[in-house]
Symmetry: C2
């Protein structure tokens, strides 16, 4: 096991009606004027935004609003938020939504306090040292951004999708998580979220670090609970307990709980980021296509942990033929993804003829000659994986 | 699943040589003069105390020392620490040791800022509102006190062993956790710690709350990793990875990670507290006697989760005869405990003729007419469990 730091200072307030505590929580963390950030009209139509505003008013918190954040969020909205936040002198960011909304709010929170261009953070020119505090009202369990210090933003000019990871500055002070708020999520978005959280666990799980039994068992346990609960939310979107299990899984998948002491991988995420930057597909759906292809490549190049995944997560009987065990696990994973409505090939994702040359070129331009750690992948390897995803 | 709050703000700094960061960490959390609290001579003999002091000096942190904390820590040492801390005007508590040392430091941290008698907190007369900050250098993985807001102190006069639970005030700001510091723990203490952490998980796991798949799977995963790793540390006390897995298990067992959204039980802990208050036995060893007896009682009175525990944690084949499955699981649990050197009866614990009348009387005096939640236990039931532990 490698040395690690586990630091998850976010106060997660989980359960029914918890959004009514938003105002008190903003005050508790010294917010006086909040910039509410949200996406499309669903938080308006559902009445959630009104409930949050009432809670803020009751707690004596002022606020201004920035709506219209899109999935795969882009830089123009961040610049707009920075300008608005500065002119309105806000001291707190309050994203109400999913990962795209939270990531945009994080970029604004850091950008407001920085004299230069916020994009400097994402290209690695400058490290985020400080940011306005933020609290989250989560409506889409998927990205895990409510408990992470990460943010992913796409620059429209050049279609670069880049991420920052600065736990100390960008972790939300609190996250309000009411599973009922996810009842109205379309099945597609629910399933994409499920895939994203599974991928977050798997990026940590697929590691060559030895002696990490507790990390392995916790990853496997969370994956097993997702596998049990996801079909229930697809079958009955108002199954509270299933929604609650899925929502909490999305958080522990990405707040550091899973994978302590392991060298993490992240090649599949990087490979998918290129796909969604070029084709503007849903991140989770992109992962449903890329991750099984990545696993299939690994069954040939580093089978050990893929076989363990098959045995412990997918209940494939153990056998000396590790590759066969691994492939059976991958087959069960794909079957699960299809059952919850996910694509598992480019074609099923709606990309008939993916420009694999372009994807490989951009991937290695953005991420370097080698990506990933479980097996370090060069251009030849990533091309092979993109091609496996195109079968 | 019930509503819950997950709040674990402690910065856990885990791995080799991490004690050398102690000074910097005290400074990071605004400590200028620390009261170092420790137990017997082992932290002196091992050189750990010197390394910590050097680290403090290098960071410009002043300190005074309070040694001599005993297992099952008592109130006189707390009063001594409060007096010393006040006269020396310390602003930070730095326990170096295990649960007894940390719990004593927590009581001192709260007591220094309180005008009345610190014991008021433990009898529930006053809620702890503020405390000096504390950081921990952990040497015994067991109590989970490094990541919890709990503290257990015994009052010598009257042998009352009582606990407080005030997460916001008493959670350590940081915990330095170097598994190498546990190499010299005697096998008995290692095994007692292992039993204590398993019990912390099981107190949360045995719950009637429905729809808690993620809580169940995470509890089961951590238990399984303990079951794999504990025999390794008993066989080879310097197995770094096994020590590391056990050490982290002790933390997640008790920092809120396990059992989210569940009504917890805690009857076994309460029943054991009376045993160790009267007979001054090691808490973990007491739990090794009480918990299997509690489980045996539950096999007759609420078998469901005991059978699940048997199937998922102890790999007992499923069967329609739930009680038989449960009993086989309990048998495997006892076999495990014996294999790591734990007693499973009063007699093996060194108590030939336990005064069960006294234990039952004190238990219900201290904890009320009914204890526990999985099944609420009256005097007749707790007597039966103490008697099961005496077979």
């Amino acid at each position: 096991m490698n040395n690690f730091t586990f630091y998850s200072p976010t106060e997660f307030v989980f359960g029914k009606d918890t959004e009514l505590q938003t105002g008190e929580l903003v005050r508790k963390y010294n917010g006086h004027k909040a910039l509410i950030v949200y996406g499309g009209g669903s938080v308006v139509r559902s009445g959630l935004l009104d409930r949050v505003k009432t809670s803020l008013k009751n707690a004596g918190v002022e606020f201004v609003e920035l709506g219209g954040v899109q999935p795969n969020p882009t830089d123009p909205k961040v610049y707009e938020g920075i300008d608005l936040g500065r002119s309105e002198k806000v001291d707190f960011l309050l994203p109400v939504g999913g990962g795209s909304v939270i990531d945009t709010a994080k970029a604004i929170a850091a950008g407001i306090l920085y004299d230069g261009d916020f994009w400097d953070f994402y290209v690695g020119k400058v490290v985020i040292k400080k940011a306005l505090r933020l609290g989250v009202v989560l409506t889409i369990p998927a990205a895990g951004s409510e408990g992470s210090g990460n943010s992913v933003i796409t620059k429209v000019d050049g279609l670069k999708k880049l991420s920052v990871r600065t736990p100390e500055a960008l972790r939300p002070a609190f996250a309000v998580m009411n599973p009922e708020l996810t009842y109205t999520l379309p099945a597609w978005q629910t399933a994409s979220g499920v895939t994203d959280m599974m991928a977050h666990i798997m990026e940590r799980y697929f590691s060559n670090t030895q002696g990490v039994e507790i990390a392995d068992r916790m990853c496997e346990g969370v994956l097993k609970s997702i596998i049990t609960e996801a079909p229930k939310v697809i079958a009955d979107p108002k199954d509270y307990n299933a929604r609650a299990n899925i929502m909490w899984a999305g958080t522990v998948a990405h707040n550091g709980t899973c994978g302590v002491g392991c060298v993490e991988d992240w090649a599949s995420h990087f490979m998918e980021h290129e796909v969604s930057a070029v084709y503007d597909v849903t991140h989770g759906a992109g992962l449903a296509v890329i991750f099984p292809a990545w696993l299939t490549y690994m069954a040939d190049h580093n089978v050990h942990k893929v076989a363990q995944f098959a045995e412990r997560v997918w209940d494939v009987p153990a056998s000396d033929d590790k590759k066969a065990v691994a492939l059976e696990g991958i087959a069960r994973f794909k079957k699960f993804l299809k059952a919850i409505g996910m694509p598992v090939t480019f074609k099923e994702l709606g990309i008939e003829n993916p420009d694999i040359d372009l994807l490989v070129k951009k991937l290695h331009e953005n991420k370097g000659e080698l990506v990933g750690n479980y097996v370090q992948l060069d251009k030849k390897a990533t091309r092979e994986i993109y091609e496996l995803a195109n079968r």
